[in-house]
Amino acid sequence: MTSVAHRAPPLTREPAWWGMLLLIATEAALFALLLASYFYVKFQTAGLWPPDGIADPKLAKPVVMTLLLMTSSIPAYLAERNARRGDQRGLVLALLATLVLGSAFLALQIWEYTEKAKLFTPQTNAYGSLFYTITGLHGAHVVAGLVLLVWTLAFALRGAFTAERHLAVQNVSLYWHFVHGVWLFVFVSLYLLPAL
């Protein structure tokens, strides 16, 4: 029988890492509630979805956006790995690659918005409100991630991170994976399911 007083290893992560995890948990709850609201309105709406003659979302651009964001998680992971290994050049290159892919995602989202705005706005109906709120909130998270990446890159260029001290890189990488993960739910809910 295992003793209750069995010694488990101490928590090896820094408080800041746990703080980022808690932040991600609260943000994930926010997205979960928004998506739950979206599906609630969808199932309460009689007839076609999207409503009021709004065309089914086109998938080409969102698929490219998804691929860009999925791909960006690879250099984000590599940035953390390179920081752990003390590879300064690899760290800078990986952060730059993540930044470029994330910026490309954001540029495509702005393009997508300019086209969507011709069809419906947040004021059109509940679908429009939820569509722009959810995608806009995700876009805001991407912007926050890009700001964090630029900040981390600036410090990386000054050689601020070592194999022993690179918590900021870990946290930014974790946040970026979350931004990518949330997008998959947004993409499936708002683009893929209505288009099927």
Partner: protein, 120 residues
């Protein structure tokens, strides 16, 4: 750090938010299920009473989580927590317990004061 202490920490961090989420989801489920008939009952119980019981249980769980967090804060073992992560998480859990308890109370009061089966 003992396994029991680690379990208590996990419970303290998760208790309040999970209790609030349960109140929200079960509350919606109870009202959706119970209010669909002319006589708003669920398994022979009044819908408002069921929602009230759910809120009380959720509040109890959240408060228990908060008390566990306070206990962990008071009994700090620096040798077993050199980075201060346990202390930080216990502090966050205590704050979360307060916030989520307020949320649960507000949600519970709404179900008790307002008619849960009102169309408006």
């Amino acid at each position: 750090m003992t396994a029991g202490r680690r379990l208590a920490l996990a419970g303290a961090v998760l208790a309040a938010p999970v209790a609030w989420a349960a109140q929200l989801v079960i509350g919606y489920g109870v009202e959706e299920g119970g209010c669909s008939t002319a006589d708003p009952q669920l398994a022979g119980l009044d819908v408002a009473n069921v929602a009230g019981v759910v809120s009380v249980v959720a509040l109890a769980v959240a408060v228990l989580g908060g008390l566990t967090a306070l206990l962990l804060l008071r009994r700090r073992d620096e040798s077993a927590d050199p980075r201060g992560s346990v202390h930080f998480l216990a502090g966050a859990a205590a704050m979360a317990a307060v916030i989520f308890s307020v949320l649960i109370v507000f949600g519970g009061v709404a179900t008790l004061v307002l008619d849960p089966c009102s169309a408006g």
